[in-house]
Symmetry: D2
């Protein structure tokens, strides 16, 4: 039973989740090194997971010959630098989304990845590896819903976490580049192409501070895809019911909806409120198994030496779309892609 | 467009609903006379509905040559007497459920009805005429679910109306003879037979006063039908979510559920409570169209001179089962039917 | 019990539905005259509903002193002419949607209606009077979902009736002016304003003949409303599951969805296909009670001498939006309203 | 990071699932030995999971000093013998349900377990550790649904696997002792007591061969619990929709339903069949995480040296109830427990 030996860079909330998965939930993975700018945090996680090698310098971890693959779960701003370090040290790289902060940076990442064709690179758009999305994709490919007509994607963060969101917002990239970029990846994955035109609107419906960052607390965008499929996405920060991601794929012969009732259990509650299904409050709960599954796929790719998807170009294109949407939102104009 | 001319006896809450239906919602019906022990109430309803003939004496109303058919919506205790008066006056009779207070009285009603074979008699178990039940019945008859295995019937009154229920309980017949009798009719209608054995349990889970009337606030009963189909019914007075009637028909090739989410609208509410569908609080709302539909069927029967169902024998059998269940409940014994 | 005496012009499929409602399902209405260009059809309906006055000339029916109000259920092309005839004959007028074929015609209707301020005029956008929509509107007005962010409206015709649709399409006004106009009315009703900008896309995903009429078999449109609420509507002719109208109202504190599962019964079917709810195949089934309810509202308005909504200006604005959307669709451009 | 070293006895379908979990999905577990009567199978599984110690003799595996805990996943008939061997070798024991084939055997197991109080014993009723059941249990304990009134439990195997079921049926213990025993455990767990009376019915609705084993293809049972809560369970082998386990807990202030729509994804399919959610076909899919979770709990118990539940007495009581239900079913009599 061959295992891929991982070092992880960045063990904040999501990084810790990946670290746990690599340490104990993925048969083909082994976590051998933990790196975090905060050395205390790195030590704590390493001890918790039984890992002996601890670093606060990514370059040093990447010099560790024990490490075969590097999982990058740092701030988006540092992705380019981390990818460069790991790739140049000869490591396979798994990098969390988005690929980088700007399209210009994405292009640099492309060059680095292209310079190391033998090393396996994968970008962490985990929604593609959620079981429900896998089920839906198979039905689409099987022709169950005919030809594609419309893809609708909603991403909502719960109001209950708005404080944290507001604090994080200025450096996160905002609705388009941080949040909706998941939906851009999904739309590209489902339709197989890029948009030809986009028009993004929305604004600050409750939290005026988003305007300071050229952003809105709720935004929406209509896209005409190159193959004329319609795509509408919406991203909001004020969902009462929870952490909700819904995707609809409407075809000429049927329709699929994923996550319309974003529940994490099979419990129905009959009460004064009627018949209710309670919702996720937390994206880590929603995507727990998708994070595991994508890493299983990545380990398979490393062990079998094939390049998996989403790849570096998927990452660049999602960033390109996101930047265009943001520009459309700021100008309130219909813009062409390319 | 031939219409059946109705007199109604009893215009309390449900009687008023029937009166409105006869007056203005059923093309083949016309309301020509209103009778109520409370003459003021009768006058008020008659004026509201544009009816000129008003009575406080059922015998006098039944002597009115204008009246062709009589709708009886009085207390169960008086059904026998009202049916006798109307039938002997030569009128067609529609009588609300249950047929009578006791099996002995039911037997007397049978004789009266049998003595007037030209007059059309129908008992008001309206659930049979609810659209959802009609859809389900057709699927069963069509063989969609194979052979019957289990019928499960729940009838729940909302906690919100418990005060009224408690006041009415002592003279209502209780869970078995007033409430579950609807389910006995449904079970007989669906399975086409009577039970062979019954065992009823339950008790006072919150309102001890039910024990004073040899009753419980929540009761349940397992029945083995003559054709070996299993039937389980439950009746409760403390439903948080509303006025809930659920029926499940489980067959060897499929299953149908009616009313599992007892909502009256197509609205989903996404809120802090999750994704909810609000429920009926009121049986008249739930069964509004079933009450209209059963009366349309009755008018058709009168105009075409055929005897509809549920008939007088259906009424007697449901009372017989209800009495047996109550006896089983009191003795906590398994009892045979017949 | 005062009743409004109606004459109806046009007793095709929907006209017959209105005729039945006026004749027997609405306490405050009475149907006294039937008019149809096809005299045989008019006679047949009149006989069926027990109406003695029959016409094939609308002007003659409008001269009938017995008639107080006229229900117009003819082709959209003739609405202007029918409204003129009825209004000038001193009758109250209920007219089916859309108000007219073009904005220019709508403006002429406005003048006619303004010239007869004592006569009650109402436009038949029945969705506003559907029970589920009434429930949702109350919740919005009650502040349950906070401030409005996004309204999403889907209108789908079932594939099963595509043949009839294709035949009717060339003279119907198409997706925007015939079908989506319902959603334009809903969006205006919910948001309380008109759009400021629209961009419509879509096309012929399966039936190329729609292109001959400058139309698509599936179209979508993003609108920015004057109050900055986002609105997205979609209209399609190829729904596998049935006649589906879904409306979502997303606010800063909650979300409502109407008709996400467009079923007409409370039956769940458990079969090889999973757990299913069957859908409406027919718009008359879906909106049966909305058609009754809007006419009840109209009768109330006539009896109380108040002008109800939707009014003539609502009608014009919906046509204006529809024309703009169609122009945007043809040009594939973002267009301003006004 | 301390790990419990496991040997597993029996690596058939469910045993293999447990083996995979112990090998790679549970941080606190390590699989160090595999034993199966079929040595080839044991070798195959061991190789697949990277385990070096392989046995076909349970006694020899239990003599392996490397093994700390033994997971028993053999035929029910051999549970007593396996538990004896493992316990007497000083190992901790996790045993799949049911505890044994007969109450008499269960009593012997009790003696063995009592003789080794320092060794941790747990019985594998995994449903208690399913996330949805955990959510429901917390709500009950929190008082959200008031006092318990009724527990309803359905266990259904899909028709699609009936061939395998029929082959396995004669030696499985049948509906009561193999299948419904899960529900007996759930009912005991939820109500906190045993039944006082039971009446079981049902029969062969499609597969007459079950009668040869004093069993039915579909059976049901009403139980009156010692605390007067009502409990109804149903077990069937002919479910069209899939592998369905539903549990309802009805209280005086609310109701919970678990698994009413037994789906494993968040996908809704809109098609000619209506709006559908597809169901599990396979119990291993349904309970995948419950099997992991129960083993996590067991490892915690071993590491912290506490005795977890369900314990050996839970096992005996469920077998006692199952035997009584089977006797009631055969005699068609109401029987007392004790």
């Amino acid at each position: 039973m061959k295992k891929v030996k991982f070092g992880i860079i960045g063990v904040g909330r999501l990084g810790y989740e990946h670290a746990c998965n690599l340490a104990a939930r993925i048969p083909a993975a082994e976590l051998v090194a933990v790196c975090d700018g905060n050395l205390e945090r790195a030590k704590e996680v390493a001890e918790d997971l039984g890992v002996s090698a601890v670093y606060d310098d990514p370059a040093k971890m990447c010099a560790d010959p024990e490490v075969e693959a590097v999982a990058i779960v740092t701030n988006t701003n540092s992705h380019l630098e981390m990818i460069r370090i790991a790739m140049e040290a000869g490591k396979h790289v798994f990098c969390e989304k988005p690929l980088a902060s700007t399209v210009a940076e994405c292009k640099e990442v492309e060059k680095i990845v292209e310079a190391h064709p033998e090393q396996i690179f994968m970008l962490g758009f985990m929604r593609r590896y959620d079981y429900s999305y896998e089920v839906a994709k198979k039905k689409i490919e099987n022709g169950d819903i005919g030809d594609l007509v419309l893809v609708r994607c909603y991403s909502q963060d719960p109001r209950s976490i708005i404080e944290g969101t507001l604090e994080y917002a200025p450096r996160s990239g905002g609705q388009f580049i941080d949040m909706s970029i998941h939906d851009m990846d999904l739309i590209r994955w489902i339709t197989g192409c890029n948009p030809s035109k986009v028009w993004a609107i929305g604004g600050c419906y409750e939290f005026p501070q988003y305007a300071d960052w050229d952003d809105g607390d709720n935004v929406g965008c209509l896209m005409q895809m190159e193959n004329n499929v319609m795509a509408f996405f919406y991203a909001g920060r004020t969902a009462a019911h929870g952490s909700a991601v819904e995707t609809e794929i409407l075809g000429t012969k049927g329709m699929l909806r994923i996550g319309s009732t974003p529940t994490d259990s099979l419990v129905q509650v009959f009460s004064e409120n009627g018949v209710c299904q309670e919702c996720y409050q937390d994206f880590l709960t929603r995507w727990h198994y998708a994070y595991i599954r994508e890493m299983e796929v990545y380990c398979d790719a490393v062990l079998n030496h094939v390049q998996p998807t989403p790849n570096v170009y998927d990452g660049t294109d999602s960033n390109r779309i996101a930047e265009l949407c943001k520009e459309s939102f700021i100008k309130n104009e219909l813009l062409k892609f390319e």
